[in-house]
């Protein structure tokens, strides 16, 4: 676990951001004729956001879970990440329209790993990416299609989503 430092900001309107994201997703899916839409959340934070969006959108297709531990590109530096729950995509990926959901978009490496894993299940017709927070700092050419909020974090600042009673997004200053 990373050391959490001083709290510098609570993003209080998480529920409001999710409402607005759900509207944008519905509009976009309609405009691009991407139906039925299958949703996949990236463990762990992305899955929380995905579950919240899935409820708001009332999608018929069950929510998929992706655990990208076996696809990370930092394996040779960090080894295997502790992970218990395996990925579970309870629908046919082949030819599917997919909405990929993560909590925080940072370097873009998680998204790259998630795309690699999804393609090992089949060849989807399309994938769009939704994130709750875009915190900047990209190392790969990755962009979200739908973003809850954009905040450019300064060096030493960290963002973390927690799920107690409800989702809460906090910014920390690490030492």
């Amino acid at each position: 676990m990373q050391q959490e430092g001083r709290i510098i900001q609570d993003v209080v309107q998480v529920a409001g951001l999710l409402d607005q994201m759900a509207v944008e997703i519905a509009e976009r899916a309609l405009a691009c004729n991407r139906s039925p839409l299958h949703m996949i959340g990236v463990r762990t934070g992305g899955l929380w956001v995905a579950a919240a969006l899935h409820r708001r959108l009332g999608l018929a297709s069950p929510l998929g879970e992706l655990n990208i531990a076996f696809y990370r590109d930092d394996f040779s530096q960090l080894g295997l990440h502790p992970s218990v729950a395996p990925s579970n995509l309870p629908f046919d990926v082949e030819g599917a329209h997919i909405l990929l959901v993560d909590d925080i978009l940072y370097t873009g490496r998680t998204v790259k790993a998630a795309l690699n894993e999804i393609f090992d299940y089949g060849r989807p017709a399309s994938i769009i990416l939704a994130v709750l927070l875009d915190r900047g700092g990209r190392e790969l050419p990755v962009a979200a299609d739908i973003t809850g909020v954009t905040m450019t974090l300064k060096p030493g600042e960290q963002a973390k989503l927690t799920a107690a009673d409800e989702l809460s997004l906090r910014l920390f200053q690490t030492a």
């Binding site: 676990m1 696809y71 960090l78 080894g79 295997l80 990440h81 502790p82 729950a85 395996p86 299940y121």
Partner: protein, 320 residues
């Protein structure tokens, strides 16, 4: 001394001495690999570009093929070397074989050898960064088999505490039994029984925390798990047993005897099975048997051990 806490795996030479946390981490990681058989692409890119050598000095079918498949599902390149039939026949020493393979920049050796301690000997001589996994050494250990047995038990029973487990057969010559005893005791099995004729149970084995039974019916009474062992035919020549038929009469796993265990008991066997010697077909092919399931679990467990060992040189992983 049993270690406490989570240790990064470097080599995987034996279960003895590993902590419950380490064994549990292997089982948890294996669980993540379990669903892979049903995917379109049965591979993950974890060990892409690494070279793994199956170095088998003893014949093996399922251990070698499941290691082979496990390595391929991790995207590694695999070299299968049946050393029995290669240069050692021409007089090359074990270390010379090893240096030659190391010169090809291989990253991991999976070693099966008839002599106890062979994998540890190789591990002591490989270059830093090269990993060694014991796939069975003499009568010493067969740690990946023990871990796949534990994974199978956990899938069915969900726990180790409070379970009664009986290991039946030739305990004295079995590396599977030895690794299994260490693993099951470490994971929390308290009622662990070994069952077999006096000639095939080592003196003083109680010190490992097991109870000894010589009458099969008594040893199976009320157990949750029965682990059968293969009776090696060569034991018959050593005057340890009168005959295979005699062994079957006293120690063969028959439906009547298995009925002494709990109704939901499972029957494990590492294979290959000798039908009509240590196990009757009705049991081996029956609903309580996990023999074929163990093969598939074995792939996931070996994927977990290989990736944990290969990733460990970076130190303990941290959340990012």
């Amino acid at each position: 001394m049993r270690e406490v806490g989570r240790q990064p795996l470097r080599h995987f030479l034996g279960v003895e001495g590993l902590s419950r946390e380490t064994l549990t981490e292997i089982l948890d990681t294996a669980e993540g690999f379990m669903a892979f058989g049903s995917r379109a692409v049965k591979k993950v890119p974890l060990l892409r570009g690494r070279t793994i050598v199956n170095l088998f000095f003893e014949p093996s079918t399922r251990t070698r093929t499941t290691f082979d498949l496990a390595a391929k599902r991790l995207s590694a390149d695999v070299l299968n070397l049946n050393v029995e039939a290669s240069s050692t026949r021409k007089g090359e020493s074990l270390l010379d074989t090893l240096w030659t393979l190391q010169a090809m920049n291989c990253d991991m050796f999976i070693v099966r050898h008839g002599l106890s301690g062979a994998a540890a000997f190789i591990a002591a001589h490989v270059a830093p960064g090269v990993r060694v996994i014991n796939a069975g050494d003499g009568r010493h250990e067969h740690p990946t088999q023990a871990m796949l047995d534990c994974a199978t038990i956990r899938r069915h029973k969900g726990r180790f505490e409070g379970l009664s487990v009986a290991i039946v057969g030739d305990i004295a010559h079995s590396r599977v039994a030895r690794s299994g005893i260490h693993a099951l005791r470490t994971l929390g099995v308290e009622d662990l029984r070994v069952v077999g004729p006096k000639t095939l149970i080592p003196v003083g084995i109680e010190e490992l925390g097991v109870s000894v039974y010589h009458v099969l019916e008594r040893g199976l009474e009320g157990v949750d798990v029965i682990c059968g062992l293969r009776l090696q035919q060569e034991r018959m020549q050593g005057a340890l047993l009168p005959s295979a038929a005699e062994y079957y009469r006293c120690y063969g796993l028959t439906p009547e005897r298995v009925a002494r265990a709990k109704p939901d008991a499972i029957v494990l066997h590492p294979g290959p099975i000798n039908r009509g010697v240590e196990i009757e077909s009705q049991v081996a092919d029956g609903p309580q048997s996990t023999i074929l399931e163990q093969v598939n679990v074995g792939i996931a467990v070996r994927m977990a051990i290989m990736s944990l060992a290969m990733g460990s040189h970076a130190g303990v992983a941290e959340d990012a």
